[in-house]
Amino acid sequence: MLKFIVKRLFAMIPVILAVTFVVFTIMWFVPGDPTNIILGNEWTEAASAQVKAELGLDRSFLVQFLHYTGNLLQGDFGISYITRAPVGEQLMARFPNTLEVVLGAMLFCVLVGVPIGVYSGVKPYSVFSNLTMVAGLLGISFPIFWLGLLLILLFSVHLGWLPSSGLEDGFASFILPCLALGGNYMANIMRITRSSMLEVIRQDYIRTAKAKGVKAIDVVLKHALQNSMMPTITVIGMDIGTLLGGVVLTETVFSIPGTGRLLLESINKRDTPTVIGCLVIMAVCIAVSNLIVDIVYAYVDPRIKAQYGAAKD
């Protein structure tokens, strides 16, 4: 297993390089000149040339790319075209906030979505199941920014219970962003868990367990749940990437200083080093989450664990 993990971690290096190349190339060809943003109304050809020389933008694509990649492999994300400050510093300041929101949202999705999905699967025609399916449908249908604004209006403005923006109120600051971001994906996890549970609960071995007099709760938790979890784990792993996409909107609506908002602002300002920095961090997150999902598979499904063992032999 350790060998598998190490191998996967090393496989991230070409992924990072590929992401860097693709983003660098896109940013190179996309219309828009960062000196227009930097100089604004003071833009002149001479001033633009001066800024380009200062930032090294007057060099060829290949020279710029190789220079950037060389620095990146040494952990240097470069200097922002706009702030002229190290991109690494900005990422260090902002990434923990993004991670907290994403993990909080994921935790919310799992802690709420899975139990509801399991219960709805076990009691598929109950009022509760119908109610949760309607809520799930709404959850999937609500755009994040709209749900975020509604939550702010209800819990911050009308009720005054929770802060509307920023992170200075500690745990309370994370509740609404995690609800807004997680609401959409929670519905997805809930529906997948339900359908998976519905399928497993009709299997012969479940009927056998029931016939043998195993308690209903034990049938669900010990026999059905583990076997129905594979699709849910897959969806959770895939949703990390989607959550990282959704965090751009969440951070904007809730004014959270994270990498999602930084990414959006940097794209608008054609700040290539910052864009690449944000996307590399996100790519690493997705790669790591996929690795974690693979490891969890092994613990949930003994057949996969056996395969890892066989590979080792």
Binding site: I37, I38, N41, E42, M133, V134, G258
Partner: protein, 522 residues
């Protein structure tokens, strides 16, 4: 199915009830932000003030950018030779006295005993080094182009020579890039590129910054002019990109003032007795520009016809919900600018019939064109302009592009028409040449207009006198000339708003510069 529908309806009804605001009644109209510097007895002068703005700052290096969001923050840290008061007068800050030796030589005596935030004395060498760096930088651009040399005369005095008469020099010295930074700090920062702990001589000392979230500064008790020190204990700038989020921050008292108010919340805040909306005419001139070198727009009569074909009041309504003043001078003079005339010779009004007649007279048959926009307000207006132009035979399509691409589109002559805004300065000498002469081609002369007659007039306005009265007369002539030339169609100047808690005092909405937050108190 029926059960599901009932449940869904109930959920939706609950959500709507929970999030619907009570019916708004405008019982608290906006007040004109006429600043009162008088501090009343019993005023609370040790409050911590939180200001919300839309965008984060860029850098504490004053010559990095002239970005407005950056300016709002860093001008509190640094001192300037001149500052602007609430009426846009240039008032000396670090300058004790100044004199003009001749038309192109100025001497400025600097106050003694000015302390920096790290407890040292500010010297004339610091001032000279700082301004020389500004001159070499790109952020101040054209405003320092007339400046030839900055030098030290003695331990109290600096000298600035210009290439010719430059009456706007004191105004140029109020620019954010002219913030004075001690030489020792600059030399260190130029090598390390580290501006994370700025040192200045301004009313506030930097305390902390969370990138993308907030900047905190506290009152500098060693500020050299104790009679004009900060009236609050600390200033926190909170960054909230979303418009309603900024309003809510003030509503929920997480912030004291929102200086970038989004009018989408206008009716709601007027109904809230705990809030006060402050307003002031801005100097942001929204205009319909067109490439004067392109066929059709190179004809003066066509340009005049366009000016007559558009209903500016309707455009103000769709662009800014009617909050502003329509303008017709076609030289981007906001009503508050030196010598401004709103509608020179009453040349223009909404007159489609006269516009059609002018089109006929021009001999230009109808043609196809494109209106480029990159903002929501402009896009809304463009749709209306499209219909006005159609009435005089010009078929326009509307194309939305990104902000980052706009300048390049102009530079490539790919914007035959466009709608955008221009934040003008009080002194027209600081923008006229850039907007309508060769000097601005490729830059902010987006309409590609050039005329030797105008060049001479701009030069005359600069050299006629150092007194503003004769200069204003020349600027009136320029506006009459430009109204006739119609190189663009100026539309309106929008109103600026700031939303504050009702008890907050010392609010100043300065149309050109940061809003002197040091006066805020309860």
């Amino acid at each position: 199915m029926k059960k599901n529908l009932v449940l869904m309806s109930a959920l939706l009804a609950l959500a709507m009830i929970a999030t619907t605001a009570p019916a708004a009644a405008a019982n608290n109209p906006p007040k004109l932000a006429v600043p009162s510097t008088k501090v009343e007895p019993g005023a609370k002068l040790d409050e911590n003030i939180t200001v919300v703005q839309q965008l984060d700052m860029v850098s504490f290096d004053p010559i990095n950018t002239s970005d407005l969001s950056n300016r709002y923050i860093i001008t509190n840290i640094y001192s300037y030779l001149f500052a602007q008061d609430e009426y846009l007068n240039n008032v000396p800050e670090l300058v004790k006295s100044f004199k003009r030796l001749n038309d192109s030589t100025w001497q400025f005596e600097i106050y003694k005993g000015v302390k920096t935030h790290d407890g040292k004395d500010l010297t004339v060498d610091d001032v000279v080094y700082s301004l020389q760096r500004t001159q070499k930088g790109t952020a101040i651009g054209a405003l320092f182009k007339p400046v030839d040399k900055i030098s030290k005369v003695n331990d109290n005095t600096i000298q600035i020579t210009t290439f010719g008469p430059y009456p706007a020099l004191p105004t140029a010295l109020t620019h954010v890039a002219c913030g004075i930074v001690p030489k020792a700090y600059l030399e260190k920062a130029e090598v390390s590129k580290d501006w994370s702990n700025p040192i200045g001589t301004g009313r506030y000392k930097f305390k902390s910054r969370v990138i993308g979230d907030s900047v905190v500064m506290e009152r500098f008790d060693g500020y050299f002019n104790q009679k004009d020190k900060a009236l609050n204990k600390s200033l926190t700038f909170k960054i909230i990109p979303e418009g309603s989020g900024r309003t809510i921050a003030v509503e929920t008292r997480k912030a004291d003032i929102n200086v970038v108010f989004d009018t989408v919340d206008y009716a709601r805040v007027l109904a809230n007795a705990n809030l006060q909306l402050w307003e002031h005419p801005s100097q942001t001139v929204w205009h319909l520009g067109y490439d004067n070198t392109q066929k059709g727009f190179d004809n003066k009569l066509v340009r005049q016809a366009i000016n007559l074909a558009i209903d500016r009041k309707a455009l103000l309504e769709v662009g800014h919900n009617g909050h502003g003043t329509v303008v017709f001078n076609n030289a981007t003079f906001a009503p508050t600018v030196l010598g401004a005339v709103n509608n020179p010779g009453n040349k223009y009004s909404y007159d489609p019939e006269k516009a059609k007649a002018l089109m006929k007279q021009s001999g230009v048959a109808g043609f196809d064109t494109e209106i480029i926009v990159f903002r929501d307000e402009a896009e809304r207006m463009a749709v209306l302009v499209q219909s006005y132009l159609q009435a005089i035979g010009i078929n326009a399509t509307v194309k939305r592009i990104e902000n980052a691409v706009f300048a390049q589109t102009i530079q490539a002559h790919k914007a035959p028409m466009f709608i955008t805004s221009w934040g003008c300065y009080w002194d027209p000498d600081m923008f006229l040449a850039r907007r309508f002469t060769k000097a601005g081609i490729g830059g902010v002369n987006r309409v590609w207009y050039q005329n030797p007659v105008l060049d001479l007039m701009i030069d005359k306005a600069r050299t006629v006198s150092f007194d503003n009265k004769p200069r204003a007369e020349v600027y009136k002539e320029i506006q009459s000339f430009m109204a006739d030339e119609a190189p663009e169609a100026d539309l309106y100047v929008n109103t600026m708003y700031a939303l504050a808690n009702k008890d907050l005092k010392g609010i100043e909405i300065n149309v050109e510069m940061p809003h002197n937050y040091y006066k805020l108190h309860y």
